[in-house]
């Protein structure tokens, strides 16, 4: 019967070669840089884990890390439920309208992030932004400087992600919902389930793998969000560093302060956190309720 042999690996070799060249090599190089001092001026010198040790006492780093965690959590909690809700609405839209709505929903996800970021600027700008002139002020509320006011910067960033990904996530949820065999719902209905109970006991649990995928995808994109934050906040952390994320901190450290070693360390330090979070989410998506556990 089939023996494991060399040819499969040989056939896969080009892929791994490209992967190594464009992914592993830069990764290793980054790791190397993160262990250097004096990276921009003077002779780089190997400093071991010194850059990482420095981060432990760096208040701005801690601030950026906290901001990132809060911001990622807010994005997940805003986008996922909202998309799930929209997906449910979309199911009841008439067929002829559906194609058009799908297109509209996908559009923000397909637009280049930089273009989107400029659009955000139009929306979030304090004195002249659309959000203020179309929604906030007509409601009789004082205009908010979404980009400069430290209380609102994080919300602007969350809104930005909400705008960008809700459509795409909605379609993911929609296909997930439509993939649930109708027989489960029929059975639940004849067992006496109300619409809400069916959502709670049939749709939600059966959507779990889809939800996990959506969450992982969203987390990754949120974590590495750069363009949006860069354009919105001009590459800084915004007023009082209220919008300082790990990515923007790495950028500031490298290109404003010229400290590539520390910047690389900032980037690498986030890797384990991100990986653990991603694995946790994906593992949750694959696991089923354990027998005997209340579901």
């Amino acid at each position: 019967m089939p023996r494991p042999s060399r040819p499969p690996f040989l056939l896969l070799a080009p892929f791994f070669a490209v992967l190594a060249l464009f992914w592993l090599v830069p990764l290793a190089r980054g790791l190397w840089i993160s262990m250097q001092g004096n990276t921009l001026f003077g002779t780089p010198a190997f400093v071991g884990l010194e850059n990482y040790r420095g981060l432990l006492t760096d208040a701005r780093y801690a601030h950026a890390l906290r901001n990132t965690v809060v911001y990622c959590g807010m994005v997940l909690l805003a986008v996922l439920p909202f998309s799930l809700f929209l997906a449910h609405l979309l199911r009841h839209v008439h067929k002829t309208l559906r194609g058009f709505l799908h297109f509209c929903l996908l559009l923000p996800g397909l637009t280049p992030p930089l273009v989107l970021a400029l659009l955000y600027l139009l929306v979030f700008h304090g004195p002249a932004g659309l959000l203020n002139s179309v929604i906030v002020r007509p409601l009789g509320l004082p205009g908010v400087d979404w980009i400069a006011d430290p209380r609102f910067i994080k919300f602007s960033l969350v809104l930005l992600m909400l705008w960008r990904w809700t459509g795409f996530m909605t379609l993911i949820f929609l296909s997930g919902i439509e993939g649930i065999p109708g027989a489960y719902h029929d059975a639940a209905r004849s067992e006496g389930a109300s619409a809400w109970q069916r959502f709670r006991h049939v749709t939600l649990p059966l959507l779990r793998p889809v939800t996990a995928f959506a969450a992982a995808f969203l987390l990754l994109d949120t974590f590495v969000l750069f363009e949006g934050g860069y354009v919105l906040l001009g590459g800084s952390g915004g007023t009082l560093d209220a919008g300082l994320l790990l990515v923007s901190y790495a950028y500031v450290t490298a290109f404003t302060l010229g400290n590539f070693g520390t910047a690389a360390a900032v980037s690498f330090s986030s890797l384990p956190v991100l990986l653990i979070a991603l694995f946790a989410i994906l593992a949750w998506g694959r696991s089923r309720a354990k027998p005997g556990r209340a579901a």
């Binding site: 059975a187 209905r189 004849s190 067992e191 389930a193 006991h201 779990r208 309720a289 027998p291 579901a295």
Partner: protein, 363 residues
């Protein structure tokens, strides 16, 4: 306990030229099991889904005892529906699936799980309580689904081909289980199936549906012996009744004779009296009513085209010109495909069908 009463039920799908179900009326007594059988697309599943409230009827009324079910959502109908496909929720253990209906009603966990365990015991699945549906066999899943249905003590049971996706052995076991339930629980039960054998074994009465129209409702005996029309005759039985289309001619002595390409015979006096001469008519003959005969006295002749052996007997398929028919013989028969065979029968045993709907002529 309350009886099911279905009056003039109709289902029309938008855009469909003919209704999926037309003017369907049926009473199902409490403690009665009525099997509904018909080819695919006959409207039997639609009927059941309307009873369960999963689909809205176009016209008609459904009552369960004093309660009018028409217009009620499924959750307020207090019926149990068991499906062909496996509908245990995949993320819940067997135990939790069994107790699902009670959970929806807010019954506390210890009491509902206790009931689940009790029902699992009577169904012989108590060792599977902690397993997930994906970890048990199809038969066990359907057993659990049956348990889930029983657990709520519903006012009626609806079965939508629950045995169709099981292997023969499992099907037999679960059929017995359903019969036991039927003995124990005195509520109306409706059992939809495309398998006429299943319908005849399970049903106290059997409804035959075709293209949305009820063809006959009768006891299995009656259905088999006195089919109401040619469709029922050919649908019930395995294989169904042999049908020969022909005409009634008059013999020189005044008696009537049935004439068709494959089969001709003299009608009995009773048959003669019931039929007008020179009319088109269909003669039905059960395979077991045919007997081997010598060439001299054979009423039917043909070439054996296939032999199907069953336990203790065999079915021969015989071709006579354009007409083919089946004959049941004992296992001591000697015939092979290609053999020429002659057949005779007792003229009193035939069924006669005439008219536009090929309805039965009662003698």
């Amino acid at each position: 306990m309350a009886a099911f009463s279905i009056r003039n039920l109709e289902k029309r799908y938008p855009g469909a030229p003919v209704p999926a179900l037309r003017d369907f009326s049926l009473e199902v007594g409490s403690g009665e099991l009525v099997a509904i059988v018909g080819p695919s697309g006959c409207g039997k599943s639609t009927l059941l889904r309307m009873l369960a409230g999963l689909e809205a009827e176009t016209a008609g009324e459904i009552r369960l005892g004093e309660r009018v079910l028409t217009g009620l959502p499924p959750k307020d109908r207090d019926l149990a529906l068991m499906f062909q496909s496996y509908t245990l929720l995949p993320h819940l253990s067997v135990e939790e699936n069994l107790a699902f209906g009670l959970k929806l009603r807010g019954e506390p966990r210890p009491s509902r799980l206790e009931k689940a365990r009790a029902i699992a015991k009577t169904l012989g699945i108590e060792s599977l309580l902690r397993r997930l549906p994906s970890e048990i066999s199809g038969g066990e899943r359907q057993r659990a689904a049956l348990g889930r249905a029983i657990l709520r003590s519903p006012a009626a049971f609806l079965f939508d081909e629950p045995l169709s996706s099981l292997d023969a052995q499992m099907r037999l076991q679960l059929r017995v289980e359903i019969q036991r339930l039927h003995q124990r629980v005195r509520v109306p039960m409706l059992f939809v199936t495309h398998d006429q054998g299943e319908a005849l074994t399970l049903g106290d009465r059997v409804v035959v549906l075709d293209r949305g129209v009820m063809q006959q409702v009768a006891s299995p005996e009656e259905l088999y012996r006195r089919p109401a029309n040619a469709f029922v005759a050919s649908f019930i039985g395995a294989p169904g009744m042999n049908l020969f289309k022909g005409r009634i001619e008059t013999n020189e002595n005044g008696s009537a004779r049935f004439v068709s390409p494959a089969l001709s015979y003299d009608l009995t006096p009773a048959q003669t009296a019931a039929i007008k001469p020179h009319t088109a008519i269909t003669v039905g003959l059960r395979p077991e009513h045919l007997r081997r005969a010598d060439a001299s006295e054979a009423l039917l002749r043909g070439e054996v085209t296939a032999v199907e052996r069953q336990a203790g007997q065999a079915t021969l398929y015989v071709q006579s010109g354009d007409v083919s028919f089946a004959a049941r013989v004992g296992e001591d028969f000697s015939a092979r495909p290609g053999d020429f065979s002659g057949w005779t029968f007792d003229p009193a045993a035939v069924s006669l069908f005439a008219g536009p709907g090929e309805t039965r002529i009662d003698l």
